[in-house]
Symmetry: C3
Subunit: 198 residues, 3 copies
Amino acid sequence: MLHLWEILGTLVFCVSGAIAAREKEMDWFGMFVVGLITGTGGGLLRSVLIGDVPPRMLTDPLPFLLALGAVVIALLGAAWWRKIRRVVSTVDALGLGLFTVTGIRIAESKGLPWWSCLALGVITATFGGLLRDVLRNDVPLVLRKEIYATASLIGGLAMLGMTHLRWPDGAVLVTTTAIIVTIRLLAIRYAIHQSQDG
Amino acid sequence: MLHLWEILGTLVFCVSGAIAAREKEMDWFGMFVVGLITGTGGGLLRSVLIGDVPPRMLTDPLPFLLALGAVVIALLGAAWWRKIRRVVSTVDALGLGLFTVTGIRIAESKGLPWWSCLALGVITATFGGLLRDVLRNDVPLVLRKEIYATASLIGGLAMLGMTHLRWPDGAVLVTTTAIIVTIRLLAIRYAIHQSQDG
Amino acid sequence: MLHLWEILGTLVFCVSGAIAAREKEMDWFGMFVVGLITGTGGGLLRSVLIGDVPPRMLTDPLPFLLALGAVVIALLGAAWWRKIRRVVSTVDALGLGLFTVTGIRIAESKGLPWWSCLALGVITATFGGLLRDVLRNDVPLVLRKEIYATASLIGGLAMLGMTHLRWPDGAVLVTTTAIIVTIRLLAIRYAIHQSQDG
């Protein structure tokens, strides 16, 4: 069940990358590469930083298949994708939450200090999008729109607190993800209202 | 003999980087760095991803010398370099082919699955140019002009097939490189005709 | 005493990154990330290239605290920071020198050849600023303004020579740093005069 959500989160990240690539008139290879890096770049950077190589992306074919699917969606279903924007935002927020949790847990298993685990959680969740924007030749969105990384950061801090208080693992995971999804979706709704007022 | 062609391929990559750097008004250090990364960045990324560190670039001085030579060519011989454009394109295509072959063979020696070897072959052949364009602050050319990476990808697929059929190693290498060079040079010729029509 | 100067050098690098991020209208997270990467990116890349993972940045909280301090300075004290420009330039040059020395010494301890140690020294000293400019979506300044990297390179070469001649370690360190600081500050003064003439 958890695995299913993580796959959906990765797919949404990949599609956001592939569509962003298409907007810059990249070809299918560009869409594939940018999609793949958006979906896996954060985890990849974490793996390289903690010496966890080769990264999972090179031993599990799933991300490649998801990036291929993302190219198809970006080419054929971009209009449909925009129509289900609310669903996409929710799954994206879910991906943000699950990636933060995964990143922190893997860093903890390497015995790193808490602030380092927190940093690796945020990196796992947000650096795929950062690399997407570097490849698109834009200033990374995540460095300009605070509420994306902040949601990951607050959720990660809460997770470290709950772990410290010896909450059961499932409760920590669900609560952390819920916090991140809530903050992220509230931020989107608030931003939409702002632009309607403007 | 093979080694000689690989050196020539690296040199052509380095010069393309150094000239691209000069076009952005970089100084000698910028030309050197961008040239070096264009020639070695793909292999470097492969090394880091599979834990093959320090990369060859830090133990074999040849790439540094080639990048220095590339700076000299970019400063003094850029006009002459453009005149021998056909030779340059051919050697560049040869580099594309040889780098793909090398990347796949090294990935295979690490016991990675076939699709992962293919990915590392394409990364070895194309990510030097990608990093060149990131440093030049451009959208990477390889993500916009399909036939470059596609040539590497088709050749790599053929190579995996031939290896699976137990062709002798020399035949695999020569055939793969020939496929990639042919596709790449046909793509260039076709593109030239297009622009003459336009 | 040495440690204090290295901390000051890192802080100046971080503040330069945070201010550069603010100029691109990044938020606090962007200022923090760009500041941190400017201060630690060179050492991080060196660590990844020589397999020295996890990098010190993930086990020693000091760089994180310095980057947080840099965000505060960029938000509240940017005007004051510009007023003490001479002090900042001097500490920045000191950072350039100390980072070069550190990078070379660590590379030597891994048994790498001299030209490779020199490259890793220059990378340690200059690639933080390079990554800062990539994240800001600019052509990296260090690739366009020669005297920054050149100072690191000349000092590094001198250091290798002194080590070869078996100078005592303290003398090597002080002389190398002094050479780099002098070249860098002379370059700044010369550039100022140029722009006054222009």
